[in-house]
Subunit: 433 residues, 2 copies
């Protein structure tokens, strides 16, 4: 990768010149949310840039970008399709390169640099997409196996359908929030003593089993017509990019409510995503094979491409109210048994329409190893039976008020890292009884 | 109720002067979707009306209606709140009354009548709201009991949580369509012989058990801040109005996929709603008690109001490809064990934000009696074991390609009926293998 003229890019920055993720920002000068890309510890404000430059030189043949970059979400940009995303990312990479072919446009234009290249600490991030529908899958095999074994024993850990189709459920779009948004502990119906025999008597109380789920999120670029599915080998063209996703889960609420129609209030109080959308193209060099599925797949799930998932290093940090941080989980996004193209093919098999901005969650990602590779406290603590040890001999089964959970993810070598930035949420007390 | 000067209002019309439901239309002269109300066999085009009238005389103190009625959805109107809906409906009722206080505005204004009062057959209906999230509940007690008994026996018909909370799941907003939209039979994974022992082997095929679900839909007018719930006795103020809802369901796809995370492709291919939103106020005179729930309820579900549901006559018609129509189900919307205010209080208990335009389904509504009171073919045919007899000795277990299902619903006496119009969908063959 070329080097960049942008000052002070830390070699460990998620936002190297190799990345160029897209997000929605607002600034002191312009409080209307609009598009930007991240580079090192700066952002390039694309609305300001577009308004002050001749874009035809940098992005020949692409019209309307000034308007597109002024939108409060990336949906319009996403809908332009993979070829345009590729060209725009390459054009921005050139502009920010030391040896840019267009030095006068930005590198040597002090006035525009001053206006358009802003320190990340000076701007506010917003939800990058308008999310029409959010679907959460369950493709993290080791998570599904561990949780199934915990509740049904190892022989029945996986349901009969699990290896035949990407199991998923419809989530709640209204409560998907951007990193940094406070998360209030949900109140809900729960059983204080679930193992007690006889008639069940719930109470209404703040969840005592507030958990995280480490997931990869995938944004849809282009939808499909209702009634016509997306073929698994076409699905890649329908993907805009990826974010980290924390599917906060109240295990006690979920346990009581979820039969027979699935998770509801145990999940719908909040889902946090990282603010920068890493374009699908940026992750191409990090492809690897998914977990092997020995089941004979239905035709619509058979992929031409063998390397169908990405090897992204993922980490979960827990920071206490006192400010002490412990990394409680380390794994990789490769631990999936279904790829996003398979999830998309399955989701649209019956004709369900996808739209630009729809969000798909991978399901919790855990590694095959021990407690330190797990993507949820449910697994790390065996549903509260054990403790996770934190810095300074502090302990957790589930989250305390005041805890902050930060997901991080990146791939690539120092100096050319492709990362997501933080997916962070702090837990506050319930606002209601 | 006063009489109307609008010509030829059939006494059995759903759209009497007592109703005044709101919808989104487009016309030969204006193809941009915009607001209208239904009256008899006509619509009053509110965009045309507002552009050609002094609205301050009819709706004193309400500003911005010209803009609001030009929107492609009713979301902006819904957000104005119940007091405004009440005043606007009353103002329109006056304008359309024989003894209107403002005869010169419309009744005696031939030019404006010509422009704004259009035959329903001349206009096209659109989805009335932009639906952020769609949630389907399961509050039809007799349906839940019958289906549970069918699969688990009468002793275990209801899950332990059923009488403690309104069970629901997140549905798919992108596939909610307006009455008349073609519905393609979904392809999906299913088991040809579910009762066979040994390892399960699915096939991918068009659903053989395509069913309907007769439901009442409720649109949200005003949302809540994330983290703060809506109290059950405040929920009424958050309701905009009601529609009929057909939650098309592929029973064989659903049966194979739904463990453990709930219905997915078995439901997300299409949900049809009637086009006219009957305002909450219009249904007030038809309140009655819900099905008695002897369970001691959690405090947040205890309603001050005893008459918490509506007694709306509901009917299901099946029309064959040959054009023969049989009414296969007749019931009432009163057969619910949870009211919409209870569903809203439960949905937001953990802080989940509702937004204007969100849609809630009641769950399938069946009466306590025999086959003729059931809201799904699953119940009418005991999951395909029996046949439903149609006109001319035709038979059905589940739907055939070419079948049209029409839901109808109304209350009130002839001449003052409050009805929904049709919620209709015709089944077409799968578009994919
Ligand atoms: Ca999840
Ligand atoms: Ca339903
Ligand atoms: Mg969540
Ligand atoms: Mg449906
Ligand atoms: Ni395609």
């Amino acid at each position: 990768m070329a080097s960049s003229w942008v000052p002070d890019i830390d070699p460990r920055s998620d936002f190297s010149l190799a990345n160029i993720p897209f997000g929605i920002i607002s600034t002191a000068d312009d409080r209307s949310p609009h598009a930007a890309v991240a580079i090192g510890s700066y952002v390039l404000d694309l609305k300001v840039f577009a308004a002050n430059s001749d874009l035809t030189a940098v992005f020949p043949g692409i019209n309307g970008l000034t308007e597109t970059f002024s939108q409060p979400t990336l949906n319009a940009f996403a809908q332009l399709g993979r070829a345009v995303h590729r060209q725009v990312r390459a054009g921005i990479q050139d502009l920010l390169s030391t040896d840019t072919a267009h030095p006068s446009i930005l590198r040597d234009n002090a006035d525009l640099r001053q206006k358009a290249l802003l320190p990340q600490r000076s701007i506010k991030m917003h939800l990058p997409m308008e999310i029409g529908d959010y679907t959460d899958f369950y493709a993290g095999y080791h998570h599904a196996y561990a949780v199934g074994a915990m509740f049904r024993g190892p022989e029945n850990a996986l349901q009969p359908n699990y290896l035949h189709l990407p199991v998923g459920y419809h989530g709640r779009a209204s409560s998907v929030v951007v990193s940094g948004t406070p998360v209030h502990r949900p109140v809900g119906q729960l059983l204080l003593d679930p193992s007690k025999t006889g008639p069940k008597q719930p109470v209404t109380a703040p969840s005592r089993k507030l958990d995280i789920e480490l997931e990869l999120g995938c944004f849809i670029a282009k939808g499909n017509e209702m009634g016509r599915g997306i073929a698994v080998d076409d699905a890649e063209e329908h993907i805009f990019g990826y974010v980290l996703l924390n599917d906060w889960s109240a295990r006690d609420i979920q346990m009581w409510e979820y039969v027979p129609l699935g998770p509801f209030n145990g999940k719908n109080f909040a889902t946090t995503i990282s603010p920068w959308v890493v374009l699908a193209d940026a992750l191409e060099p990090f492809r690897t094979s998914a977990i092997e599925n020995k089941t004979e797949l239905q035709g619509y799930l058979k992929e031409g491409r063998e390397k169908s998932v990405f090897d992204i290093r993922l980490e979960v940090d827990l920071t206490t109210a006192e400010g002490d941080t412990t990394t409680i989980g380390r794994t990789s996004s490769k631990h999936l048994i279904w790829s996003f193209p398979q999830m998309i093919a399955h989701h649209t098999l019956g004709g369900c329409p996808m739209r630009a901005g729809d969000l798909l969650g991978s399901g919790t990602i855990s590694g095959p190893g021990g407690v330190g590779e797990r993507g949820s406290l449910l697994e790390m603590t065996e549903n509260g039976k054990k403790q996770v040890l934190l810095y300074g001999m502090d302990m957790r089964t589930f989250l305390k008020d005041g805890d902050t959970v930060t997901l991080r993810g990146f791939c690539g070598p120092e100096g050319a890292r492709i990362g997501f930035g933080e997916c962070r949420g702090r837990i506050y007390s319930s606002l209601q009884s």
